[in-house]
């Protein structure tokens, strides 16, 4: 082949490759923006249908058969109480498990098993946590269809998230920090408490926020334990005016929650109830998206501030 023809052919091929690359770059950018656009459309849609419903009355009224008078008071109070139980159970156990697996656990079959177990737990469908809670917490332990049963179900659901976040945060700390502490005669727990935990607060807090945001949006496990949707009363307050000033009766109260209330409204015919559903959805979206945004910012800051 003549050399000039060869070069021309090669140049043509190179330019075709460049144009294919260019074409894929545009396709990728277009699909990225479209996918993100869906999130925007979702928010806009909820805002257009639901924003007009959100006012003081909506936040301070009980559900009602008349859509215009219905509100989310018992739902957001229920969500708040559930989260107290969930956080109270998932954070200590998750932290302990994370620290144990990362800092203490010997490398053996049992540890391998625990790790596979956590990886599987993270993928178990949320509704199965609801079935476990129904069989175990509601009937076996006789907690009833209560805030306690619901909160514990959600705690089991988010436990793997807290464990994995704790482990990853600890793993980024170089072993020289541990060795320095041991060299000065610290016990393992002293190294964890005085050095490793303070350095990993950012990562752990990120995981905890993500876990809570997941729990707030979950409805399937609460439906299976039979969380009622029509609750026109509030659980008893956690504080009382006589000694000992705190009461735990609310733990055993029936409850509803924001996602449950929204599900109830979605499944009813009639545009007015759908507007209520959109309003409840908007509140849920604002809560979960801002928690996620906070987690992202926290993670960024934690990463930026650390130079080993």
């Amino acid at each position: 082949m003549r050399p000039d023809l060869f070069h021309a052919l090669q140049a043509k091929r190179a330019s075709r490759r460049r144009s294919i690359d260019q074409w894929f770059r545009r396709l990728g950018l277009f699909l990225t923006l479209t996918t993100l656009g869906i999130l925007g459309i979702l928010l806009l849609n909820l805002a257009m249908n639901g924003l007009a419903r959100i006012d003081w009355n909506f936040l301070s009224s009980f559900p009602s058969r008349r859509a215009g008078e219905a509100g989310v008071l018992s739902a957001w109070v229920g969500t708040l109480l559930l989260m107290m139980v969930t956080a109270g159970a998932a954070i200590p156990f998750g932290l302990a498990a994370g620290i144990y697996l990362e800092e203490y656990a010997p490398k053996n079959r049992w540890t391998d098993f625990v790790e596979i177990n956590i990886a599987n737990l993270a993928g178990v469908p949320s509704i199965l946590y609801g079935l476990m809670a129904l069989g175990l917490f509601v009937y076996q332990f006789q907690f009833g269809q209560s805030v306690l049963a619901g909160g514990l179900a959600l705690a089991c659901l988010v436990l793997p998230i807290v464990i994995v976040a704790t482990r990853e945060a600890l793993r980024t700390i170089p072993s020289s920090i541990r060795e320095a502490a041991f060299a000065l005669g610290a016990t393992r727990w002293q190294a964890v408490w005085h050095h490793l935990l303070p350095y990993s607060t950012g990562g752990i807090a990120t995981g905890v926020i993500l876990a809570m945001s997941r729990a707030i949006g979950e409805s399937a496990p609460l439906i299976t334990i039979g969380a009622l949707t029509f609750i026109a009363f509030l659980p008893p307050a956690p504080w009382v005016d006589h000694v000992p000033f705190v009461s735990f009766d609310w733990l055993f109260s029936p409850f509803t929650a924001l996602p449950i209330q929204m599900f109830n409204w979605v499944s009813r015919p009639g545009e007015e109830f759908q507007a209520n559903a959109a309003a409840a959805g908007l509140i849920l979206m604002v809560i979960t998206l801002s928690m996620n945004a906070a987690a992202i910012l926290l993670r960024r800051r934690a990463q930026r501030n650390i130079t080993w």
């Binding site: 490759r17 460049r18 294919i20 690359d21 894929f24 770059r25 396709l27 990728g28 699909l31 990225t32 996918t35 993100l36 979702l42 156990f93 998750g94 932290l95 302990a96 498990a97 620290i99 144990y100 203490y104 656990a105 098993f113 625990v114 956590i118 599987n120 737990l121 993270a122 993928g123 178990v124 949320s126 509704i127 199965l128 079935l131 476990m132 076996q140 436990l159 464990i163 016990t187 727990w189 993500l210 945001s213 707030i216 949006g217 979950e218 409805s219 399937a220 439906i223 299976t224 039979g226 996602p259 929204m262 979605v266 759908q274 959109a278 959805g281 849920l284 979206m285 979960t288 996620n292």
Partner: protein
């Protein structure tokens, strides 16, 4: 004197140490207890159901109506719903998620990627009940304009939204896998004169394949177990069909539907949702273990 105080404080430290080891170990056990709790509850509560129902009828019956006076136990009717909605979701999520992963890993500017990836992950943080609302009240009417015979509840609509929900799983894990393919391999292919897309498809994609496969498998597990989207938008009527334009209940939607009614402890309805749950657990367990194994293999290889 100084030495005796330090000896006693040392004893105290050692005491605290041995207490904390047990406290932390208990945390590790808690995660195992949750798994045992799930397995034992599912087995125990569904046992009477599987005792009462002849095993072959699960596969020979064509309808799933365990609560009727003349019950039918064809679990295939529920599995069909799960299969079709999952299939539709994967048809959306795998191509879209893979293209986004290739684009973000090989083409996009690093700053753009750092900004877009967390934004995409927000898609899987949206509460699923909100997605259900969106599928039922926004996407279905939109699809009905294209195809007027589409019923109000359809597996197509629910599956498509479910696909959007699992795109971040595919993209995020897939992109991580592709980025961990060594730069040397890419440079070798460039040196042989390949273009960017060629390198991505012929070198990076095969190199990261077990990582990508793990992402796909975990996405399947998500789709199989997803509940609220299908319960709201795909319908609650079990139906033996593979046509995504129809409505049908999935395994998960059946559990929701029965839970919404009055459900006395020990009734046939109560037992049937645990039976459905046991089937669901086995399916997702298989996918989760496969995904875990693939991910391990990928990490060991790179």
């Amino acid at each position: 004197m100084g030495s005796s105080r330090s000896a006693s404080s040392r004893r105290l430290d050692q005491g605290l140490e041995s207490v904390m080891v047990w406290v932390l170990r208990a945390g590790g056990w808690a995660s195992v207890l949750v798994t045992f709790g799930i397995v034992i509850t599912l087995v125990k509560e569904s046992w009477p159901f599987f005792q009462a129902v002849p095993f072959v009828r699960l596969f020979t019956d064509t309808m799933w109506t365990p609560l009727f006076s003349e019950p039918q136990y064809g679990i295939g009717a529920l599995l069909a719903g799960t299969l079709v909605t999952t299939g539709v979701a994967l048809l959306v999520a795998i191509p879209l998620g893979t293209i986004l992963a290739i684009y973000l890993s090989e083409f996009a500017e690093p700053q753009f990627r750092d900004w877009v990836k967390p934004m995409l992950e927000l898609l899987s943080a949206v509460p699923t009940v909100v997605y259900g609302y969106f599928a039922l009240l926004t996407l279905t009417p939109l699809l009905q304009k294209i195809y007027p015979d589409l019923p109000q509840f359809s597996m197509l609509s629910a599956g498509m939204i479910m696909g959007i929900m699992i795109v971040p799983y595919v993209t995020s894990l897939g992109e991580d896998a592709m980025r961990s393919v060594p730069m040397l391999l890419r440079e070798g292919a460039y040196a042989l004169g390949d273009g960017k897309l060629g390198v991505a498809l012929r070198v990076v994609f095969p190199g990261a394949f077990s990582g990508l496969a793990a992402a796909y498998v975990l996405a399947i597990s998500r789709a199989v177990g997803e509940t609220m989207i299908v319960a709201i938008a795909a319908g609650l009527q079990p139906r033996m069909t593979v046509n995504p334009l129809e409505s049908a209940a999935t395994v998960t939607a059946f559990i929701v539907q029965v839970s919404l009614g009055d459900l006395p402890h020990g009734s046939i309805g109560y037992q049937s949702i645990f039976a459905a749950g046991a089937v669901l657990f086995l399916m997702t367990l298989g996918f989760n273990l496969a995904g875990h194994a693939l991910r391990r293999r990928f990490h060991r290889a790179t």
